[in-house]
Symmetry: C2
Subunit: 192 residues, 2 copies
DNA sequence: ACCCGATCCTAGCACCGCTAGACAACGGAG
DNA sequence: CTCCGTTGTCTAGCGGTGCTAGGATCGGGT
């Protein structure tokens, strides 16, 4: 059955190629430029090949989103682990989150902005998404303060970060006071 | 010149019809259903007529966005004016904002989510957008606290509201604790 | 009454996501 | 070694999108 195994390996490899190419193209030229024709040409296959791996374009975006969510969780955990003291940890988390959004705008859009057919806040939420939320919760749950549910504070803090991320990237808020905004968020929302 | 005036009036009337129809269709069936063909059919004109009023679809979305921003400003001002005391005013503002987002999802998307080619945070920002921000500033500027720039707090509070609005509408956060989230936001971000 | 400009529509372009059906390549059976 | 059947891939095309060129038609000014 070595033949079949080889084919499966090649197939998995090609699937990774599709996702990586979609991501790369989206970061370079925006998601509008990620058409099935363009994508097929870049991976040097014809369009229908895409549909033998994914049900449609949405599912490709979804794959990029899951990959990105996993990376976001890693980035957040690394940042909080490197900082010492609750306040520094929360500040590091905020920066890690906002930096991820700034450095990977297309991926961030795939996760949160575009409808990639992802379920959230249910038991059938994909693992990477739950894990990304868990990464936030691990840090923020410790600074919720008395009488405040850790999950609730995490949701609100996350929402605030998400708001800052999207509004600043869309130019809806001036970029020069980014640092002060983070400070204000940390000072007031977290009880440290 | 009465003839020319009548024509101008009819033209302005038709422009309003286009915007109103686009908005209605978007709220009913989502922006995806707002195609130039569908829109043209609803106003009982052919497609090219749309392009004699607007440069393209983006500009139509932009018109809906501006209309919505003006309404949002009105709603926020009405809510804060009706409440007495700083804390009640801020809470009312938050509810007015989130209710607007919930009740007019398509319009809210036009303002903040879709790229309608609108400039923000510049001097050439359209008046309704500046005014909507001013409406937030009028209330939140009074609860910034010592040493915090009113504009900065307004931006952060606005971002938090925006985050809550988008994440809850996309089902990325459970709906049952909406009230508690608002309370937490008001309690911590505003100095009241 | 005629002309001419404004106004509107038909038809079409290039692109999109997606799919049916033809075709080739290749492992396994006789 | 040959033939068959499956598996995989491609070409071609469908119905849709935003947008526009060019012709017809209507109506006010002379």
């Amino acid at each position: 059955m070595s033949v079949q195994e080889r084919k499966e390996r090649e197939r998995a490899e090609r699937e990774r190629l599709i996702v990586a190419t979609a991501r790369e193209l989206a970061e370079q030229q925006g998601w509008d430029a990620v058409t099935t024709r363009q994508l097929a040409q870049r991976i040097e296959y014809s369009q229908p090949v895409l549909y033998s791996h994914f049900r449609g374009k949405r599912e490709i975006i979804g794959a990029v989103a899951l990959e990105g969510a996993a990376e976001l969780a890693v980035a957040v955990r690394a940042a909080t682990a490197a900082a010492s003291g609750p306040r520094a940890k929360v500040t590091a988390l905020a920066h890690a989150y906002l930096d991820f959004a700034k450095d990977n705008p297309a991926v961030y859009d795939a996760i949160f902005q575009l409808d990639a057919g992802l379920a959230f806040a249910h038991e059938d939420t994909p693992e990477p998404l739950k894990d990304a939320f868990a990464a936030l919760l691990e840090c923020l749950g410790q600074v919720a303060g008395d009488g405040v549910h850790p999950g609730l504070l995490t949701e609100v803090f996350w929402a605030a970060l998400h708001g800052v991320a999207t509004l600043s990237r869309a130019g809806r808020v001036p970029p020069e006071f980014a640092e002060q905004r983070v400070e204000l968020l940390v000072d007031r929302l977290a009880m440290v």
